[in-house]
């Protein structure tokens, strides 16, 4: 969604073509991100003509301020939905930055890793908006990600296993 998409596209901006093809996963309710992504990829194709990407949509796992219990149910549903997608793509790397959408995708990849089907490296970058506290996605994925990146020093102190590279968006 919105801010998350802008941030993640900035993160992608300096990546080489080794990080290709790129598969974007969006919430089905997200209207604006697709345009931003296509625009980004179009520009990219001007420099790297062989550049490839795809877009997939999954049901949104949680609405803002949705209560705990129903969130667990909708997230489980999203995980089940994500499993075939993750299985099909078998990504080497999952890069995410916090929208609820990323939790089921990461958890499904984590599961496929446990089942020895595909070992995916999960890199989570907490949003620049998060200075003192982690988002809910962050709190969950802190335990499931291979690399957890924060953008402010306070968070590095609170979450010692995180990586601090300064502001990267």
């Amino acid at each position: 969604t919105g801010g998350h998409t802008t941030e993640i596209l900035r993160l992608l901006s300096c990546l080489s073509e080794s990080y290709s093809p790129r598969h974007y996963v969006l919430a089905d309710s997200d209207k604006m991100s697709e345009a931003k992504i296509r625009s980004f990829e179009q520009k990219r194709a001007e420099t790297f003509s062989e550049s490839q990407f795809s877009l997939d949509r999954i049901p949104r796992s949680r609405e803002v301020r949705q209560p705990w219990i129903s969130s667990v149910v909708t997230t489980l549903y999203s995980i089940l939905y994500s499993l075939p997608l993750t299985y099909k793509r078998k990504p080497d790397l999952i890069l995410c930055n916090g929208p609820g959408t990323c939790v089921p995708v990461c958890l499904s990849a984590f599961l496929l890793g446990l089942l020895r089907i595909k070992r995916t490296i999960i890199v989570y970058v907490e949003s620049i908006c998060r200075v003192e506290t982690l988002s809910l996605s962050g709190k969950i994925l802190y335990y499931f990600s291979d690399y957890f990146i924060v953008q402010w020093p306070d968070l590095k102190k609170k979450y010692p296993k995180s990586v601090y590279l300064g502001r990267i968006v």
Partner: protein, 104 residues
């Protein structure tokens, strides 16, 4: 004006921006090098939005007030005391990932 796709044009021609604490608005404004006053809405407060505004203020990049103190702030503000906002460095992220995958 309600939901224009982008305020980039307006931002470019502004001398001063007064905005809510949304991260997108704050960062877009700072990146364009415009002085910014962030107004916190005490009632609609989404605490996490406040974190970034507070930090930006602590670091000297923005001025900060709430609805009731806005006029006072406008009257007494010293915009020259605001520091220029350095851009983020996504190249550090790319470098980090390259190391993770042994691509350096």
């Amino acid at each position: 004006f309600r939901f224009k796709d982008s305020l980039a044009e307006e931002l470019q021609s502004a001398d001063l921006v007064i905005s809510h604490a949304g991260a997108g608005s704050c960062l877009e404004t700072l990146e364009k090098g415009k002085p910014l006053i962030v107004v916190i809405n005490d009632k609609l407060m989404d605490n996490h939005q406040l974190e970034l505004a507070k930090q930006l203020h602590r670091d000297g990049y923005v001025l900060y007030c709430n609805c009731s103190t806005l006029v006072e702030t406008l009257q007494s503000m010293d915009l020259s005391a605001l520091k220029p906002f350095p851009p983020g460095q996504p190249e550090k992220f790319a470098s980090f990932l390259d190391k993770v995958f042994g691509l350096q």
